[in-house]
């Protein structure tokens, strides 16, 4: 069985070489210093991996999935795909800075599952997004058990969780009981099998659709998020992905979204995040030390929501005049609070509760930094991440 249930299994996995170490180094915002308590992404920072070339590219307001093998993603490598044979986890990590002017700071490891690039920043009304279900793999259906089995794994269908909204296509005829252009919700049976339900509630309850024949041709299942596919634990950030600062404005920034329970028309709370005027490259727009509308660092969600399945609208309440921003969907995995020049923050995830953050196949790992003090441009951070799988 995949995963760990004892210390002995961890030791055995390490002994068998089922482990990968990533040494990383990233420079902070290369164009401007960070004000104390601002959060910045390290996506564009020089280092190892180098700067990304994806977050300021692509079609306006269109969801773009991110994986470790996405061209120019420049995410931190973690040893490649291991599912369904194994499950991969983060075993330990460290972070250090050699610059006294950087500490204290909080360096946060996130898995970025996708983003929406916004170029129409002068539009002050809510703008609808495009959410094409771009992840797809083929499957076959068993009419006797209603169980479907993945027959391809190019987009890591073993990542699909119960409650994920999907749609189906086929080259000929879908299995009887299923229709084209219809939302279904996955009931995860195993890493390689699933059933389908008509609603999210039915999926959670395990009430499957009765499939009465296997259909003909090749059937394909499509879904949106490449990981955390139902949106559980997924948060959002607005950030400047470009090499230049935003224009002058302090807009309220808001989202309309579908939550992880697949409920639509959710909205960020009344007291909205407020973007910083002329937000610098890499800045998470509404983060900062003082004033209203400052959130550090994820966008607040509507009451009770546990995650975002997809973003439906994005709005900046007044024109940003110029520039572009992006809204990324991400899952926080770990935090490394660094306090002292040259003293690494170290985390042993075996002994923390809950232990071992799961690293799904395709995970696009990046760091964010929350500056405790004014952080000079191109300040250097480095460290390591150890992964183990079983």
């Amino acid at each position: 069985m995949s995963g760990f249930s004892s210390h002995d299994q961890v030791i055995a996995a390490l002994s068998n070489g089922q482990t990968f170490r990533a040494n990383w180094s990233k420079n902070a915002n290369p164009t401007a210093a960070a004000v104390a308590n601002e959060w910045h992404t390290l996506f564009r920072g020089a280092g190892n991996p180098g700067a990304d070339a994806i977050f300021d590219a692509g079609s306006n307001l269109t969801f773009q999935a991110v994986k470790d093998n996405t061209t120019s993603a420049a995410s931190i490598q973690h040893g490649g795909a291991v599912q369904p044979t194994y499950y991969k986890y983060l075993l330990n990590g460290s972070c250090v800075s050699a610059a006294a002017t950087v500490v204290p700071a909080t360096v946060t490891l996130v898995d970025v599952v996708g983003f929406y690039r916004v170029t129409t920043v002068t539009t002050a009304t809510a703008q609808s997004t495009t959410n094409t279900l771009g992840q797809s793999d083929t499957f076959s259906a068993d009419a006797g058990t209603d169980v479907c089995t993945y027959t391809s794994t190019a987009n890591y269908p073993s990542n699909i969780l119960t409650g994920t909204r999907v749609r189906l296509t086929t080259t000929t005829t879908l299995p009887a009981g299923l229709s084209l252009a219809t939302d279904y919700y996955v009931i995860r049976a195993s890493d390689s099998t699933f059933k389908l339900a008509t609603t999210y509630a039915n999926a959670v309850a395990g009430t499957q659709i009765n499939i009465t024949d296997a259909g003909t041709g090749t059937h394909t299942i499509t879904w949106l998020l490449p990981r955390y596919t139902n949106g559980a634990g997924i948060g959002a950030i607005f950030f400047n992905p470009a090499a230049t600062a935003m224009g002058a404005a302090t807009p309220n920034l808001s989202l309309g979204y579908t939550n992880s329970a697949q409920t639509t028309s959710r909205a960020t709370p009344t007291v909205l995040p407020i973007g910083k005027t002329a937000a610098s490259n890499s800045h998470i727009l509404y983060t900062g030390a003082t004033g209203t509308g400052k959130y550090n660092y994820q966008t607040p969600l509507q009451s009770g929501d546990a995650g975002i399945a997809q973003i439906d609208t994005i709005q900046n309440s007044v024109s940003y005049v110029s520039g572009t921003y992006a809204v990324a969907l991400l899952k926080e995995l770990a935090r490394f609070p660094i306090s002292t020049l040259g003293l690494a923050a170290e985390r042993n995830f075996m002994f923390e509760t809950p232990s071992f953050p799961r690293i799904y196949d395709g995970a696009a790992l990046y760091f964010l930094v929350g500056s405790g003090v004014a952080t000079p441009a191109s300040s250097a951070f480095s460290g390591h991440l150890d992964f183990v799988w079983n």
């Binding site: 909080t106 634990g233 030390a289 550090n296 969600l301 009770g304 405790g372």
Partner: protein
């Protein structure tokens, strides 16, 4: 459902019912060593909340939606939200070691007058919206206009059992002129109260205040706050984060009620005017 075992805790995290929110406070007050100080009045993120912003003596409720405080996310009812952990670090060693008590600030009576010997009857048109019976709710006097000091006062209140006419022992006012200092905090004087007022007998909480009586005249104003302490930690030295994991350390997660206004009451060892504090709160809900 409540979180009462490891599996429920892990399930909550796996299902995304967890968030970590960063905070920063930049106190500017020239606090005195050993005297408690209310950091709610300090600039930062969240911005300051001033306890003198309403009609004197008229109870004002406090909430995240109206007043801010350390952000802990939206309401989660009917689920329960818990404080999973807290981290904090200063940006310099001045003022350390410092004790910090995370409190839910519930209600305050603004600007009570030090110069009046007559009992100051307060207005309870607003009542507790959280911990409505007053269980565990404490009284804290915060200076909003400085005084000469040295006088005492007592508070007439209704306890958490609903019994009226309860009276605190006399409490000594310090000589600190600093706005935001806990009025009754002292390090060397008898009848001082650090940071909460003692209650009568075996009372365990305050539901409301009826009046405040000065035993000697002075200049100055103080506001009387009703707060519910949630967690305490100490930052011992600069260069080492304090990290509290309430599950691992005690298997008891403080509950953060919906719309709670969270902030810190602190006891520094010297002036905080040149020290900033930053950290985060990790919350989880069932």
């Amino acid at each position: 459902m409540t979180i009462s075992n490891h599996k429920q805790l892990v399930d909550a995290e796996l299902e995304g019912r967890v968030r970590t929110y960063s905070w920063r406070k930049n106190p500017t007050a020239a606090t005195s060593g050993g005297l408690w100080f209310d950091m709610a009045l300090s600039p930062g993120n969240p911005p300051p909340k001033y306890w003198f912003d309403a009609t004197p003596g008229v109870a004002q409720t406090v909430s995240q939606s109206a007043d801010g405080g350390l952000f802990h996310g939206a309401n989660v009812s009917p689920s329960n939200k818990y404080l999973r952990g807290v981290r904090a670090t200063p940006t310099s060693s001045t003022g350390l070691p410092i004790t910090m008590i995370l409190c839910d600030y519930l209600l305050y009576y603004p600007s009570l007058d030090d110069s009046t010997l007559d009992p100051q009857t307060v207005n309870n048109s607003n009542t507790l919206s959280r911990y409505t019976d007053g269980a565990g709710v404490q009284l804290m006097a915060v200076t909003v206009a400085g005084r000469t000091g040295g006088q005492t006062f007592s508070v007439n209140y209704t306890n958490s059992d609903g019994v009226a006419g309860r009276v605190t022992p006399n409490c000594y006012q310090n000589t600190s002129p600093v706005v935001g200092s806990v009025t009754t905090s002292q390090s060397v004087v008898q009848l001082s109260c650090n940071p909460f007022l003692p209650l009568q007998g075996n009372d365990s909480g305050v539901r409301s205040v009826q009046s405040v009586t000065m035993n000697g005249v002075d200049v100055g104003l103080f506001s009387l706050l009703l707060v519910r302490p949630l967690a305490t930690f100490i930052i011992r030295e600069f260069g080492a984060w304090v990290e509290k994991d309430f599950w691992l350390e005690s298997c008891a997660l403080p509950i953060i009620q919906d719309n709670a206004f969270l902030n810190f009451v602190t006891c520094p060892q010297s002036s905080l005017a040149s020290t900033n504090f930053l950290g985060d709160l990790k919350v989880i809900w069932d």
